[in-house]
Symmetry: C2
Subunit: 345 residues, 2 copies
């Protein structure tokens, strides 16, 4: 099956229209007619070669929402006509301790990324910047009726990436949570942490997006460019979710944690970070990392978002605006996620 | 009350006999006739000035065991004749959130160290290298009958420093725990983790102390100087307690953690450590720190050790051997803790 797509032909090259092959629908597969695909900063890192060599041409996109148009003989989780989503992974071994514990993202044999990865059958995966995709039904999520499909697409990466640490480290009533950075991930973090009942503070470089932050659910908003922020908020937070991929002054942020507090990175700077161990020891604090979430948790997140009326704030674009959108993402000029209308492919 | 002691007169100077003043026994104080004082690596760092300027002369010692010889009018926790211990702190504000949560070591106004610290009455504290000490009874522990007093002394620092993270991060049956370094702290970590029911592995630079490690309760023993150790043990541990104060290759050790595993530092290298955030994100791992433990937990630790027949492995010395003992500690030539017989002062 040959389908329209947008691909980067080589590292650093602009994306261009192309046609790719999708595999036949296997007995446990579903064929999805894609409606929307979000643009994640990871897409840009990947096609730019920031994360090493890639199997070009690369068709990015791991924030996928669409409708099932065909199912394999053994598929029981999804039916033709269902609205579904696909996130950052489309396969894993299913047998290791982590897969069995519903942490497929930490599969000991390596989870299979939605694009630019080698699937278990040896083929290279292609992502959501295309009209159709064939995915093992165990890695396909149900998008509940309560969420606008276009606002649901970014939940499949930005949503679960922030939901997972907020749930794991028990954000909820009585907990003081800070979200560092109000971008694609951060704005989802604010909405979800607020819906979970936590007291939410945004820590952003400037106060430029303060009004947005408060509208999205933050109780407080501070500029990290102002050194007094770190004095005022010393020892305050139970949990800080850092959505910024660039390096930060870890010791300064760790100083904002209460005893037993945790600073979780969901972005990974390319360069190592350094910290003074006293920053941890002085309050039994932790510096942690979290990567997306398992399939069951992703479904829980979608159901939670539907129940609380949460979707991403999106700007819908046509396929021929992808390269321009990439430039705007790099300039932080998006509130808060670009989503490609894949009918324009 | 003037009592014999050993003090460092200035940074880097050998310790020498001296006489110091102890305060009058206040209404909530106890007077302790000291029997034993352990030598902790911190004592050496402090008198050498490694941790900044100190209020010399410094009388070190925060692993103190002795007998109560006088109590203030309001003291109900301890009686004359009781065997008691004093650890790393002798006071705190008692009112802040952390003190109220029995985490006096993280007192928001600053806990008062047992020596070289300014007590709440403005005087400088002097530690256990002396014949007597007067301490607020709320910071005095009961040493149960089941522990040999000389082997109990190091529990007051080395014991609680390792017990606290092992308990906090749930070392116990079914958990795989590694202890990095088999010194004063490490050997207590092995004994306690084993008694808690965990599967214990020692990670030591060489296999020199392997026989000891296994005798103390370790199930496995690996040399970290052998690179294959890091391959063999990849993803294995739920908890790693790092007792080594020198810098380590954090990414290598984080790679030994299973999903949700935690690497806890109980020592603090003077220099910052660096790590690649991918080491955390790739398994929802944490890098944490822990400092001694609260008074209630320290009592729990002493009771636990008595119940399990746990004491430190000690080499008892006379006061005039202190300077030589310091040299041997720096050369890692002690199995596993020097304890001063303070009747020789």
């Amino acid at each position: 099956m040959r389908v329209n797509a947008y691909a980067a032909p080589a590292a650093g090259q602009p994306l261009a229209p192309t046609v790719i092959e999708r595999r036949e629908v296997g007995s446990n597969d579903v064929l999805i007619q894609i409606e929307y695909a979000g643009i994640c900063h990871s897409d840009i890192h990947t096609v730019n070669g920031d994360w090493g060599p890639q199997p070009f041409p690369v068709v990015p996109g791991h924030e996928i929402v669409g409708v099932v148009t065909e199912v394999g003989a053994d598929v029981s989780r999804h039916r033709v006509g269902d609205r579904v989503g696909v996130g950052c992974m489309v396969n894993s071994c299913g047998e290791c301790a982590n897969c069995r514990a519903c942490d497929e993202q930490y599969c000991l044999k390596g989870m299979v990324g939605t694009y630019a990865a080698t699937d278990r059958d040896g083929t290279t995966t292609h992502g959501g910047y295309s009209t159709h995709v064939v995915v093992d039904s165990d890695y396909v999520l149900s998008v509940p009726d309560g969420i606008d499909p276009v606002a649901a697409a970014p939940l499949l990466c930005a949503g679960i990436t922030t939901y997972a640490p907020l749930r794991h480290w028990n954000a909820g009533p009585g907990k003081k949570v800070a979200i560092v950075g109000l971008g694609g991930l951060g704005h989802m973090g604010v909405k979800i942490a607020h819906a979970l009942g936590a007291e939410v503070t945004v820590l952003s470089q400037s106060l430029k997006k303060q009004e947005d932050g408060l509208r999205l659910g933050a109780d407080d908003y501070y500029a990290t460019s102002d050194p007094s922020t770190f004095e005022q908020l010393a020892g305050r937070f139970d949990l800080i979710v850092n959505t910024v991929s660039a390096g930060i002054d870890l010791d300064a942020y760790l100083g904002l944690l209460a005893v037993d507090g945790t600073l979780v990175n969901v972005g990974a700077p390319a360069e190592p970070l350094s910290l003074n161990v006293f920053s941890l020891i002085g309050g039994r604090r932790s510096f942690a990392g979290s990567m997306i979430g398992g399939i069951a948790l992703t479904q829980e997140m979608l159901d939670f978002c539907a129940q609380h009326g949460i979707g991403a704030e999106v700007e819908v674009i046509a396929a021929d605006q992808i390269n321009q959108a990439y430039e705007r993402v790099l300039a932080s000029d998006v509130r808060y996620r670009f989503v490609i209308d894949t009918t324009t492919l």
